[in-house]
């Protein structure tokens, strides 16, 4: 038997999860501008298209779905250079009012989803002995924000995952880092009262909300060829 070798894209390929809207959309479009072929995913179809961007409907918390996603990248592009684990959900409520089902849902997307995408992405990246994985944390972790117990706990898990994977995947030439954005005007915080956001921003060293450009700046830093020795790091925006 001769193993079938997929065609290998001459263009670097990036995967961005949760790219239908908001920050994921911005990161996906910015990577296309930087010359990447971008595969994005979300649980629903986007209302936008872009040359150089392909969207796959996938649920990152579902193993079969993630296998289908990375299998598509392998067979179509033959390589994966970058994985951005942006997909995430939040639940902001007092701990005494958080249903168990919400805990499962948040951990499913934020922890299990990030893990599955990291694992399957690394399998593709290790073939070329190079790759960049960027996970998403939040300033809610270092600031221990009240009302965000499950969300912050899930992102604490993402940070630990990031640090351990950095060690386990370093030998394959893969770096794993995380960015922790300050509050940005996206769907994630649309239900949080403005006064609460203002109060939070007032506790930061940089007293303004974050922007998508702020986040992409950190992402791009992790992706630079010169950043090959930077791994297992979490960079928070706003001086949290």
């Amino acid at each position: 038997m001769t193993p079938h070798k997929p065609n290998i894209s001459p263009t670097p390929v990036a995967l961005v999860t949760g790219s239908r809207t908001g920050l994921g959309k911005f990161v996906a479009q910015s990577l296309v501008e930087r010359g990447y072929r971008v595969v994005g995913c979300s649980r629903g179809e986007p209302d936008w298209t872009l040359d150089g961007y392909e969207h796959i409907v996938a649920d990152v918390s579902d193993e079969r779905s993630v296998l289908g996603l990375t299998g598509h990248i392998r067979s179509r592009y033959g390589r994966l250079d970058v994985a951005i684990n942006n997909a995430g959900i939040a639940s902001m409520n007092h701990v005494l009012l958080v249903p168990g089902a919400t805990v499962d849902r948040v951990l499913g997307v934020n922890v299990r989803g990030t893990f599955l995408v990291c694992r399957e992405s690394a399998k593709l990246m290790q073939q070329r002995k190079a790759g960049r994985i960027v996970n998403f944390s939040t300033i809610a972790v270092p600031m221990r924000l009240e009302g965000e117990a499950i969300y912050a706990a899930s992102k604490s898990a993402v940070e630990t995952l990031t640090r351990v994977l950095a060690r386990e995947l370093g030998g394959f030439g893969i770096t794993v880092n995380a960015v922790g954005p300050s509050p940005i005007d996206t769907d994630l915080i649309r239900n949080v009262p403005a006064a609460k956001i203002d109060q939070l921003v007032g506790r930061l060293a940089i007293k303004r909300k974050g922007t998508m450009e702020d986040v992409f700046n950190v992402v791009e830093f992790f992706l630079r060829p010169e950043s090959s020795a930077i791994t297992g790091q979490v960079i928070y925006l706003g001086g949290a």
């Binding site: 193993p3 193993e63 399998k123 030998g171």
Partner: protein
């Protein structure tokens, strides 16, 4: 498309040779070759690379999305990753299940 046990064994033997540490003499590689344990030539990192490469090449060849390190493999008292032969048998079983889910 599926693969026979012999085809799987041959594929794993080839990948095994590629995963040996540089300078390691290639002795006879066959279905009895141990993948881990006292007489194994692969270190833990090379074993991981072998399993990933086998998984990827099988999926490329057959158009499946099998995962070798699934719950069943990791919970068995006798690991299916003991030898090239037991790994090949495990792969064939997974492929059969995929083609005949009932």
């Amino acid at each position: 498309m599926t693969l026979s046990l012999q085809e799987c064994t041959n594929l794993i033997c080839e990948i095994y040779k590629q995963c040996l540490p540089p300078g390691q003499p290639v002795t006879e590689v066959n279905d009895q070759t141990r993948l881990f344990g006292a007489h194994a030539q692969l270190d833990s990192s090379a074993l991981v690379s072998l399993l990933v490469e086998v998984e990827q090449q099988i999926n490329d060849a057959v158009g499946t999305e099998i995962v070798l390190a699934d719950d069943r493999a990791m919970s068995q008292k006798r690991s299916p990753f003991r030898t090239i032969g037991t790994l090949a048998e495990y792969v064939v079983m997974l492929l059969k299940e995929r083609s005949d889910p009932a």
